[in-house]
């Protein structure tokens, strides 16, 4: 009888113990987005004191961070060389952040627009084709009219990649067979 009791007790304490492990599971430390009772706004992540410059983040490259040239106007130049890798990155980022409204071709007929969001203009108008690259960069950074800004979601380097890809989209709608290198033409399935 005694052994049985011991065994029963052991089994019971095991079962009870398995519920007492929470102290190491939820340690009194902050991990990202964990709330805090200490600060009035309830957040453990603290805002950076104004004027702070993190090491390596002076962000004094005006063209790269604002899209504006030395004269303060939207620049036509890219702050980096436009390579295939940049375009592919731009395509990927564009498809994530811009297609819900602008759709994959840039005609402005995305899913959210079909659900009632204000319709953006197509990228394939002369006005937008002639806007300098820095202008498109500025629209992503600061928004435009009814369009929200994407500064928090898209990092500067990716914004430039998206600009490059929008340029490629614009060209693609005006391309003729002469723009295709001769050796790639046979991949087009007989298009003239």
């Amino acid at each position: 009888m005694r052994t049985k009791l011991t065994l029963g007790g052991l089994a019971l304490s095991l079962a009870v113990l398995s519920a007492c492990r929470q102290d190491m599971h939820d340690q009194p430390k902050y991990v990202p987005l964990r709330p805090s009772d200490f600060f009035a706004d309830g957040r453990s992540a603290r805002p950076i004191a104004e004027g702070t410059v993190a090491r390596g983040h002076l962000n004094d490259d005006k063209l790269f961070y604002t899209g504006k040239g030395a004269d303060g106007r939207p620049s036509q130049e890219f702050p980096m060389p436009v390579t295939k890798a940049l375009l592919l990155r731009g395509e990927q980022r564009y498809n994530i952040y811009c297609t819900p409204c602008h759709d994959r071709t840039g005609n402005g007929n995305g899913m959210i627009v079909r659900r009632g969001y204000r319709r953006p203009p197509t990228y394939h108008s002369d006005r937008l084709r002639q806007q300098p690259n820095g202008y498109l960069y500025d629209v992503i950074t600061n928004g435009f009219g009814a369009m929200p800004d994407y500064a928090a979601q898209v990092q500067p380097a990716d914004r430039w990649a998206i600009v490059a890809y929008i340029r490629a989209l614009q060209l693609s709608q005006q391309a003729s067979i002469n723009d295709v290198p001769p050796e790639a033409r046979n991949q087009l399935g007989g298009a003239k």
């Binding site: 052994t3 065994l7 089994a11 190491m24 599971h25 939820d26 990927q92 969001y117 928090a152």
Partner: protein, 219 residues
């Protein structure tokens, strides 16, 4: 004097001894089952949220990519829950008077965070990192399941150590090309084992010995 116990008591005693062993076995088995059950790991149980946010609507219905909201998943250990501003990108115009969305608008007005309930929650003594998995071709689906079909978010897998190790021993069964990381309902173009082995080599995924060493996850 007659005997206190009848002869049949012998059988009873034997049955009790056997029964004790059997009961012990059953208890061990039951505890083992219970500790892995969805009841304890809280898998497949949807959590109550301050706003009934539906991935089925936003991902399945509207086709919004995971990274539109979970922006840091590729670059950080943490996948990030979107700030209210991200919701307001669309909901400033869409369903902008819906009572369901009042907590979102209130949060935007008052600059108070929405307090989402955490769904997948590892113990604090485990080190987990999203970016390494996502960059080495482990898709969201492999760990979080068909999020695009969840009206309310729930955890799909147990998140127990055994589950992590199961993949760390055989990553080739799960890895996919990087461009399909956020794809839901991914089908490998051919034999998964074969593609998997090729990707494991291409992405230079470490061997099982390194990936199952205790200090990988308990650091």
């Amino acid at each position: 004097m007659s005997q206190i116990f009848r002869r049949s008591t012998n059988t009873f005693t034997r049955a009790t001894i056997f029964g004790a062993v059997f009961m012990l076995g059953l208890t061990v088995w039951a505890i083992d089952r219970l500790s892995r059950s969805d009841y304890v790991t809280r898998a497949t149980q949807a959590r109550e949220q301050p706003v009934p946010f539906s991935h089925a609507h936003h991902v399945g219905g509207l086709g919004v990519d995971c990274q539109y909201c979970h922006t840091s998943v590729e670059i950080s250990s943490y996948a990030n829950i979107p700030p209210t501003k991200t919701c307001m990108n669309c909901h400033s115009q869409i369903w902008s008077t819906s009572p369901t969305l009042e907590p979102v608008r209130a949060s935007y007005r008052t600059n108070q965070s929405i307090r989402w309930t955490k769904v997948n929650d590892l113990p604090d003594f485990v080190y987990f990192n999203h970016s390494i998995h996502v960059n080495k071709g482990v898709g969201c689906e492999s760990c979080h399941g068909r999020v695009d079909r969840m009206p309310l978010t729930y955890q799909v897998n147990s998140l127990q150590m055994e589950w992590c190790l199961n993949c760390h021993r055989n990553p080739e069964k799960y890895v996919r090309p990087r461009e399909f990381i956020t794809t839901m309902g991914y089908q490998p173009a051919g034999d998964q084992e074969e593609i998997g082995r090729k990707l494991v080599a291409e992405y230079k995924i470490q061997n099982a010995r390194a990936l199952t060493s205790c200090s990988t996850c308990h650091r």
